[in-house]
Symmetry: C2
Subunit: 197 residues, 2 copies
């Protein structure tokens, strides 16, 4: 097990309905030292890619993306879930269905901050059905920018998102891929990353 898998086993809680609660270190309380290790690992996995921008989605992607970005020495742009009166000018938009919240959000990115010259690493905390990622990819494509890679903290390997996105040819790196989890025993099994394709 790697450092993130170990932490998930230690502090993650499996709930009915395939819900994995990692709110003690990932998406409510945030262990920024863990994020720093994640940044180190993503920097290794994407070292051959020329990346000049990180794109994520509010809210829980922002903390990870910000700390990871220090390892790439690039700015972060986060897609916003509601239109702000402070966001004028043209925006790229996509619709994203949330597995957690069971709702649909419009996400927006200002056209000022994503252009055809951008080589983008997409970062997010979770990958399940892939809706959030597909929305972000759609936004990068609309900007005629390039998706150089996708870095995910925790992928639910038993849902279809990872499979779909890898089949589209993207370099998708998930630091922990859950093969199965049991809310009765609390057991969590991980996939061997070499078997994800």
């Amino acid at each position: 097990m790697n450092f993130l898998e170990e932490r998930i086993v230690k502090d993650g809680v499996v709930k009915p309905g395939n819900v994995l609660k990692v709110d003690s270190f990932l998406n409510h309380q945030m262990d920024v030292k863990l994020f720093d290790k994640m940044g180190e690992e993503f920097a290794k996995r994407f070292e051959k890619k020329k990346i000049n921008k990180i794109l994520t989605i509010e809210a829980s992607g922002i903390g990870i993306a910000s700390v990871v970005a220090l390892h790439f020495d690039v700015p972060v742009v986060f897609a916003k879930k509601t239109q702000s009166i402070n966001l004028d000018g043209d925006m790229y938009t996509a619709s994203v269905e949330s597995f957690t919240h069971k709702n649909i959000n419009n996400v927006i990115v200002s056209k000022k901050f994503l252009t055809k010259d951008d080589h983008v690493l997409i970062i997010d905390d979770f990958l399940a059905n892939g809706c959030a990622l597909m929305g972000l990819i759609q936004i990068v494509n609309a900007a005629h920018a390039t998706v150089e890679g996708i870095g995910i903290a925790i992928e639910k390997g038993f849902q279809s998102g990872g499979h779909i996105i890898r089949n589209l040819g993207y370099q998708l790196e998930s630091l922990a891929i859950i093969d199965s989890m049991d809310d009765v025993t609390g057991e969590i099994k991980f996939k061997d990353p070499n078997e994800t394709m």
Copy 2:
């Protein structure tokens, strides 16, 4: 002018209605190297305080708080604006009116992540009327934790929030305090931090 004031003059845009757009480096696209400098500066200003947790509010506080937290070697907890089905158990709640979005949000923090033993540094990107900060202070007080200090990137010195919070006795450190701004000329004037009391 310090590093943040210089950046505001360089890249901030003054809009009618006392709106300062800093979305190119602070709250949509985020310059994480700038956040790193802010962390260094907050670490100096709060070096006498025993801080074991940083509290912020989604969404635009999260990036700053996460990078700042690396300088304090503490976890971040962010107050969430909507109730998630992933957040079970008891929560502290507060109502917060947004100056930017002209709406009222309930913000919540899980009771698991804020206790009487916590010595909290509150971090946020903006301080205007102080509603968001008062909500966070209310949550810390409800947990019988201690507010050790408050670190803000940009304070609108011509609105009442900073005055109210300093009068309550909190150590409030704003890295840039705007005295006035003019949406016709684009001119931004800063307050001398020694005159904020």
